[in-house]
Structures are given as C-alpha cells and as structure tokens.
Assembly symmetry: C2
Amino acid sequence: MTIARSRSADQIQTTHVEPAIRALLDRLDPGNRLVGGYQLGYWNADESPADCQGKGLRPALALLSARAAGATPEAGVPAAAAVELAHNFSLLHDDVMDGDTERRHRPTAWTVFGVGPAILAGDALIGLAYEALAEVPGGRPAAQRLAVDVRALVAGQAADLSFERRDDVTLDECLRMAADKTGALLASSCALGAVLYGGPPGLIDGLSRFGRHLGLAFQLVDDLLGIWGAPQRTGKPVGSDLRARKRTVPVVLAVTGGDRAGRSLAELYRSPAPLTDDDVVRASALIEAAGARERTEQWAWQEAERARAELDALDLPDDVRGEFLDIATFITGRDH
Amino acid sequence: MTIARSRSADQIQTTHVEPAIRALLDRLDPGNRLVGGYQLGYWNADESPADCQGKGLRPALALLSARAAGATPEAGVPAAAAVELAHNFSLLHDDVMDGDTERRHRPTAWTVFGVGPAILAGDALIGLAYEALAEVPGGRPAAQRLAVDVRALVAGQAADLSFERRDDVTLDECLRMAADKTGALLASSCALGAVLYGGPPGLIDGLSRFGRHLGLAFQLVDDLLGIWGAPQRTGKPVGSDLRARKRTVPVVLAVTGGDRAGRSLAELYRSPAPLTDDDVVRASALIEAAGARERTEQWAWQEAERARAELDALDLPDDVRGEFLDIATFITGRDH
C-alpha cells in the first residue's frame, strides 16, 4: 500500500526531509533525542536503527505545497520537517492521554520511556518544528499559520477527551472535533510550503481548505478502520476506539439516529463496566445496523469531493494537481 | 515582598501585558482556556476571578529588554506575553511530571482538571506564545530565540527527571541542569524585547547572558528555599524537593563533598523507603553540616555578580540598568 506519487517526491523525503529532521533531532539533549527519534520511527529504544516511520503524508503534502506556489520541492523542506515534527508531538501527547499502548506496530513511547519523558519529548519536537520554520525566510507567517492550526489540533484533542465523559455529544460537535484533530494539521501541511515561498493568499487559503476537508475525510476513514479493521493501516488494535468508549463519528451518528440499534449502543456506552470483547463486537454490529457505517462512508466520500472541488478552483501545475489527487485518493482509501 | 521597579513598568503589566495574554487565551477552546487561565492565576476552577498570578518577573524583564534597545516598553508586550505563556506551559507540564500538588498556594492544574487537560493546556499556552511573536514584525528571530531557549528548558527538565533515578550526578551536570531549567527562559525574557525591536546583536547576546546567569542565581536561591523555607515565596511545601529526592545543587554539593555528612546524605538518598518528616529534617541538617548550604549561597552570589558584570558591559539608559539591577536584587533575595 503505497501512495502513487512521483519518484522525485519520495526521493526528496529520503534525501532532504529525513536528514533535515535528523539534524534537528541532533540539537536535543540525549534523552529527548532518543525518545523523539523512537517516536519518529528512526530507531528502537536501544537506538539501533529501525524502519518504523509513518506514511510521510504530511511532509509529502508540504513539498507539494511549495511546488504549488512555483517553488522547487526543496523550498518546502523546512515546512515538511515542521509538520512531521508537529504530528509526532501530538501523537506523543495523545498516546499518554489516551493510554494507548501500541502505535505503528510498536509499543508507544510512554510505555517504553515513561510518561514524563514522553511529554517532554513532545514538547521538544514541537519546539523543533518552530525552529525549523523560524530560521528560514518566510518563517514568520509560516510559524503563525502552524501555531493557529496546532491550536485547533489541541482543541480537537481536548474535545475528544471531554467526549469520553459525555453522552450528549452532537454530530456537529463530533465533526468539528474530527476536523480539528486531523484536518487542522493537514491544512498546515497543504499550505505551509506555499507560505514559506510567499505564494498568493488565495492559493494558500485554498490549499488550506483542501487540507482541512481532506483531513476530515481521513479521520472518518480512520474512525471506520478503528472499528472494522485494517490494523496494518492504523497500527492500532481493532476495536480500541470502542473499548475506550470514544465518541467517534460512526458512534455519534448511530446514537443520535434515534432507532433501536442506536439506543442499544447508547446504553452500552453508558454502562459503567469495562467493555468486554463481546461488547465490542456487539457495539460494531449495532453501529452497522443503525446505518452509521454507511453514512460515515458517504460522509468521508463527500469530504473528499469537497477537497477535490477546492483543488479544482486553484491554478496549479498539472503534475502538482495530480499528486495532490493521488494523496487524496490514498487517504480516503478508495484505491484498496 | 515587591520588586522595586518603576511604577510605569507595573502599570504596563496591568494595562498591556495581562490584557494581551487574556486576549490570546480567548482564542482557545473553552476547556483549554479554563485550564490555561487557572494556571495563569486569572480565575479559579469555576472561572470566578482569582488573584493568584505569579510575580511577573519574566514579563517585567521582557518590557525592560525592549527599552534596553531604545523602544517603548509597549513594543515589548508581545515578548512579555510570550515568555509568561512559555513559563506557564512549562509549569503545567512539570507539575504533571513531578506529581506536585500545590503551586502558588493553590492545587496544581492537573490535580483539579486531570492529567490530560493539564498536558493539553500546556500545549495550548506554548502555541499562543509563538502566535504572539509570529504576528508582529521582528517575530521571526524572536520565535527562533524563544524556541532555542525552550529547547534548553526542556533539556533541563529532562535532566532533572533523570537525576531522580541516578546517584552519580556530578556538580557540573547539576549546575547545567539548573541553568537550563531556569536560566534559559530568563535569557529569553531579557533578550526578546530587544530582538523584536531589532536591537544590535551585541546587546541582545549580552542581555541573554545576563538572563542566564540571573536564572542560575534564581534557581540556586530556590533550591535553598526549597529546603530551608519561605513557602510564601516558593508556594511549595518546605522539604518537598528533599522528599522527592531531587538532586538539587545543595544536595549534589553535599554528596560530592567527600565528608561524613555528605556520605550519610548519599546513604539516605539511596534508601528505597519513602522519606519521613524526620528524614527530611535530617537531610537538611546533613546538607548544612557538609557546608553545602553556605557554598550554594556563595554560588548564587557569584552568579548574581556575573549577571551584573554582563549588564555593566552593555550601553544602557540609566533607568533601564537600574530596573534590571532591582530585579536581580529581588531575585537573589538580598533584599530580605
């Protein structure tokens, strides 16, 4: 399962983005460097080399973003490094808060190094993201945009956490949370390269909206995969969202749908006891019976179409447009 | 216990800095805003008004820093807001990691709102710090400098955490940790106003070194107060550092001093049992007997002198120099 994008884009991630991130990591004290590089998938806990990196979606979008503004992809490298670092900052902290023990088929950083070191390494990575931007021309508006989008990301995670203690979450709240949690940083990823290069505001804002819609589509697909599988994509155990009583979009669609399956699901979510394996299977069946699986799939499709419409409205080189669309196709899972 | 600084400086904190920070807080989602404003001392957990703010040392230094470069203090307001936000980001996370339950005579944020919300609010505050800088002219080098100093701050906290699991901490490591933990952000505080205003590099670097020495002096005084009292200054219970077996400078000076008192202290620190109240009293007596209280006082004095020497080497308006020295005097505790 690879993204059908140009060879040169993959090459630049290997020849430019990863070395840039590794050089930034080398600025850290040994402890934070170790945890940060583990999180990024560069090495194991004993610092032996690992090959457990993420999909590199965000850096790929940031490189495309520079090209969208007429720059070389190399001009987008600081943006690519920044969004990858910001993404991993948020994963480090989220895994602590959610108590998740596995990510990308490995133990999460806090389970290996402890909660304190994982929090600090997250703090260190987001700092490196701002360093990467602030030391190149165009870095001020880029840092500003990243900060605004990370603010939304943090708001999304706060909403996600608070939803676990509420049983009256509305669909609007849930969609907003999903768009904030995943869409905000994808919006930065799609815009930041163009911002660094001083692209026109219309292009930057259009790319940003493209990224936000794409991110919501991505999150909806992830919500589905979190219930019905494909741990090889998510790197997380099937059913973990249900077990944690997460109020994801499929769950809220089912619960607010008003039919019997939705009411049964609401009851299951309200019960104080930990959910058993059987409960998790039953919950996923109830979501499907309530029609919420299909409606979530439709919603993801619709967000992908909105993303595509944003792209259509922009004046872009054909190859850049094509690669943006390839990534959108990959993200919304329509190629597998 | 107030700082003898000009009335106008206090006024500007009230009329400009606090409103700027409150306006930044208003950008946050309600949950993060509530926790962030609680941490900053603006309100209680139920959002009723509170008056529990910190001493405002860092913003005061940032305003002076702008004046040092020939600007009005108002020009330093974004810098003042940024350093106060960065400081409170670090307190939010440190209290989680250290398990501290009290700060500024109130329950710490994580004990009131939970660990997840405290981590997220810290993430939100450091983001606002970068927003504050990135949206004004001069914001790029200012964001860069803040990021570099926050990197040192995070390294200092990582060292502090790791020292609790080690019994071979050297004095050099310990001083480096203290300078990173407290000196780095004071260095930013003293430099950032001048950076924003485009002051000359020689001035900026001199102010930064002044802040770092001042910060180490501050931390050494805090280490002493953490053992021998003045909870009205620290807002933390007396003896809490010893109870947590923190390897502060007085402890490491005693343990590495080679005399009998130091060896007894090392033994006490190595024992696996939690320290009793009697153990804490005995530990502080051993530190004093090893001469480490006096040596730490001397060291703090020496760092304060180094700070003063940095200031002497700079070309500053007399009133600005005077106010920097007032703050230095306050910090090193020689006025009480």
